[in-house]
Amino acid sequence: MLVLTRRKDESIMIDNSIEIVVLGIEGDRVRIGIEAPKDVTILRKEVYLDVAASNRQALSSALPKDLPLSNIFPQED
């Protein structure tokens, strides 16, 4: 991992198209601004991890046995 120390208003460039700037520091929080092309996905990490956790819970091996699906979702003709 590359570790850099920045002050408020200082920036980091990634490739030529992504810029990360420290907008402000308040106590234990850092406000971070990110400029990036539209096709770059930017997420809070915990959001990504939550989706990954949900995907693991959605594994069909976790399906309860004997799910009465035709009762829960009656077929519409």
């Binding site: 539209k38 096709d39 996905t41 997420l43 959001v47 990504y48 991890l49 939550d50 989706v51 990954a52 956790a53 949900s54 995907n55 693991r56 819970q57 959605a58 594994l59 069909s60 091996s61 976790a62 399906l63 309860p64 799910l67 699906l69 035709s70 009762n71 829960i72 979702f73 009656p74 077929q75 519409e76």
Partner: protein, 147 residues
């Protein structure tokens, strides 16, 4: 081709039914090839089965079955990435988590799975805004008719 699955044993599928997820799925980033199985006994659910790992198979469903007004804001760049030229080639699914108390089943409306059914490309899109939850209770409102 034969696909090994944990739940259904060996399944024969057309190679042109394999969907490529270039980024894999969150939690399974190295698995990029999947097929959709639709056994009648699981209706209305389908299984997004990894072709590369028989144990990785996610329960998915059409979100409009239980949320008719679902309108995820998916950036145009995602449509470009999946080479979707005609909107009728776009298919949307959400993953489903079914606990033992199955009436508490939830759908991940925050990260729908978008598939280009013509070019067989797919991606799980994590939405920007906080409008939709990762765990939407399917039976909380009246869009679903319960037997």
């Amino acid at each position: 081709m034969i696909v090994e699955t944990a739940r259904f044993g060996s399944v024969e599928v057309d190679e042109d039914k394999v969907i490529l997820f270039e980024d894999g799925l969150p939690g399974f980033e190295s698995l990029t090839k999947y097929i959709i199985l639709s056994p009648p006994e699981l209706n209305p659910f389908h299984i997004l089965q990894s072709v590369e790992d028989k144990d990785i198979a996610l329960t998915i469903a059409d979100p409009f079955l239980f949320k008719k007004d679902y309108s995820p804001l998916i950036k145009e760049t995602v449509f470009d990435e999946l080479k979707i030229e005609d909107n009728k080639d776009a298919a949307l699914f959400t993953t489903i988590v079914i606990p033992e108390d199955y009436m508490k089943m939830t759908a991940n409306l925050m990260a729908p799975i978008l598939i280009n059914s013509d070019k067989m490309l797919g991606k799980q899109v994590i939405l920007d805004k906080g409008d939709y939850p990762v765990r939407y209770p399917i039976f909380k409102n009246s869009d679903v008719k319960v037997g």
